[in-house]
Symmetry: C2
Subunit: 248 residues, 2 copies
Amino acid sequence: MGKIYIVGIGPGCHEDMTLRADKALRESDVIAGYTVYVDLVRDYYSDKEFISTPMMGEVNRCRMALEEAQKGKTVSMVCSGDAGVYGMAGLIYKLSVEYKPMDIQVIPGITSALSGGALAGAPLTHDFAVVSLSDLLTPWEKIECRLREASKADFTLCLYNPSSKKRHDYLAKACGICMEYKSEETVCAIAKNIGREGEAYQVMTLKELAVTPVDMFTTVFIGNSQSRVIDGKMVTPRGYMEKEHGKK
Amino acid sequence: MGKIYIVGIGPGCHEDMTLRADKALRESDVIAGYTVYVDLVRDYYSDKEFISTPMMGEVNRCRMALEEAQKGKTVSMVCSGDAGVYGMAGLIYKLSVEYKPMDIQVIPGITSALSGGALAGAPLTHDFAVVSLSDLLTPWEKIECRLREASKADFTLCLYNPSSKKRHDYLAKACGICMEYKSEETVCAIAKNIGREGEAYQVMTLKELAVTPVDMFTTVFIGNSQSRVIDGKMVTPRGYMEKEHGKK
């Protein structure tokens, strides 16, 4: 039976990978993935076969990995961040029905909400919603609806894919929607190039965020009504009754 | 200057910890945390000093850790899952202003949304919201509002703390709210004892979830309108236009 691991490798630095992910890669015959992610791990597992495909070839990439597994090889499909969160796990499951029997194991990894959050402080200590601003596979109206309802309910928001060359004004539009329900003074943060060269974070208000340039390597945090700045970090308390509770 | 790591140790199994987390624990003089979490790591770092406190002593636990760091020791505060998501990072930042100067480093970990998701399939491949059903620090009305708005916007939901002795009917109430906006046939899953003895998952409909007994070691997934069952796993597609896109 073919065996495929779908491995979340975390933000990019080898240290942010789990021990389980490292073990799966070491056990594998083949490491497959988007070129940039394969290059992030190549030096650590240099005795492996590598299959890498460019950005938009997701379906082909998954098929190539499944075909290798069907031949009896152990294959790891690497995803940046987590294997599931905007990752390849869903697509592998969907395509795998054509390559049965297949042993599929999903190995979770540190998604940018967590790694970016750790860099910027502790923005996600309470309920939060994760929204991708990419409208490649999702109608923009759906994205707007999610930003609106999440803002109404005072969720902390974590935004993935806040910008690209074609979508340079999407973050400003998203901030505009949030400001219909959240104060323009809401504490926000951005985390850039997490776990890679040029890693940086910045804490600001929602109003400032709306005019801050970001790129596709940026993760954005928009606080809830309780989020605050402590020593330059963005911190969301654990609840709405923390103070009283802490006094006990 | 005092040094404190706030370390997400993942779901419980040592392999689900990141290499960075493992390194921080090895570097530390003291490992502090809730007794159950400290016990999960104790055997791997047996040469350390340990400070463990029972469940409700969060503030004291953080103060004890900060005091040790102030004495010049390197301290790791361990959290199950991630250090930020419903973790101790926020509280450490808040209290740390009384223990300056203090070098604080948050080391992210695999939170249950990711580890439970990997176990149940790929439920979080698209936008999702994480909500805790614990009303200890949050008014129940706020929790209801979040479930309602997130359901309206067709988010996949991941529920933490779905039940406890005092709150045995909370999941049923939450499902009732979701069913006002989501189909009762919505694909759902539960993941239990992730990374520990008795690990299990189960895929079911929202209507079935409403009458399924869960405990505090269960993580719950409620799909969006596109979530489906593939080979007994819960899978949410990457978007709403995936089929067309995949055909290109």
